[in-house]
């Protein structure tokens, strides 16, 4: 697509940056979840920005994040038509982060995280994707619905089933039980 063919006026340009710039990080997060790797994530975000820019005159300004994520989903669909899609982002591949706390707390956090990952991987890929979008990336129901192209009612029911399944699995984890008790106090 040639950007100059669909170059909006100065008002639209100003609003475009206002709407889009704060959402770049969440677009990258979601794109990484959809593609499973950084390079493809950046590619589809870039493609989505071009499409959004070309369409900005038709955007009413309401819910820019949902608008951008819908465009991002289309960019992702176009990309996967060209190659085999990668599975949902796996938490194991994340770079380890430095943690703070007592040695006992670090051990419990590590154990809890392992149990959490195991519970997460009992979910079907579609459920993993949804839990990741809402509970890790903090998307609202409508935003996750836009990314996955499913009704909001499906988002709510699928989330409920998925979290209930994880909670049930984790109820046998001593680290999780201790974390629940810690949150009470």
């Amino acid at each position: 697509m040639d950007c100059q063919q669909a170059h909006p006026g100065s008002d639209q340009r100003a609003r475009f940056r206002h709407w889009v710039e704060p959402e770049i990080e969440v677009m990258l997060r979601v794109a990484h979840t959809l593609t499973g790797n950084k390079a493809d994530a950046e590619d589809i975000v870039q493609d989505a920005l071009i499409k959004a820019y070309a369409a900005v005159e038709r955007f009413d300004g309401a819910h820019p994040r949902a608008w951008l994520l819908t465009i991002l989903r289309r960019s992702h669909l176009n990309a996967v038509r060209k190659k085999v899609p990668l599975p949902v982002e796996q938490p194991e591949v994340f770079a380890p982060q430095s943690r703070q706390g007592s040695p006992e707390q670090l051990v419990m956090d590590s154990s809890m995280d392992g149990d959490l990952k195991r519970a997460f991987h009992t979910l079907k890929p579609a459920a993993q994707e949804l839990v990741y979008l809402v509970d890790v990336h903090g998307l609202q129901y409508a935003e996750a619905a836009a990314v996955l192209d499913i009704p909001i009612g499906t988002v709510m029911s699928r989330l409920k089933r998925s979290r209930d399944k994880m909670r049930s699995q984790l109820s046998a984890s001593p680290a999780f039980v201790q974390a629940v008790e810690s949150m009470k106090s």
Binding site: M1, D2, C3, Q4, H7, R13, F16, R17, V20, E21, I24, E25, M27, L28, R29, H32, K38, A41, E42, V45, Q46, D47, L49, I50, Y53, E89, P91, F94, A95, P96, Q97, M112, D113, L116, V131, Y132, V134, D135, V136, H137, G138, Q140, Y141, A142, I152, M156, L159, K160, R163, M166, R167, L170, S171, F176, A179, V180, M183, K184
Partner: protein, 92 residues
């Protein structure tokens, strides 16, 4: 104490608990539902425990966001790309 009534109340609460905890604009409970749910969770050990488990689960999952944050380089690169779009210098 009525076990059947209590079980029905737990079932009612279980259908709404996650929406209550999420506070999502598209899943909001009515003020009456919120009051009924909060009252039930206060007196029901089982539902109170489930609420605590969900809060812990949400808290633990949200920590994954720290380790999956995009790099500042990626953000800067795409922000610069926005500028290129605006000036019409970039075409693909």
């Amino acid at each position: 104490m009525n076990p059947i009534k209590d079980a029905l109340e737990c079932y009612w609460a279980s259908k709404r608990l996650q929406r209550y905890l999420d506070s999502d604009p598209d899943g909001q409970l009515s003020p009456d539902e919120i009051k009924r749910l909060e009252t039930h969770v206060r007196v029901c050990d089982r539902c109170s425990k489930v609420a605590g488990q969900h809060r812990t689960l949400r808290s633990a999952l949200s920590k994954w966001a720290l380790s999956s944050a995009p790099s500042q380089d990626s953000i800067d690169s795409l922000t610069a790309f926005l500028g290129e779009l605006e000036t019409g210098e970039k075409s693909t």
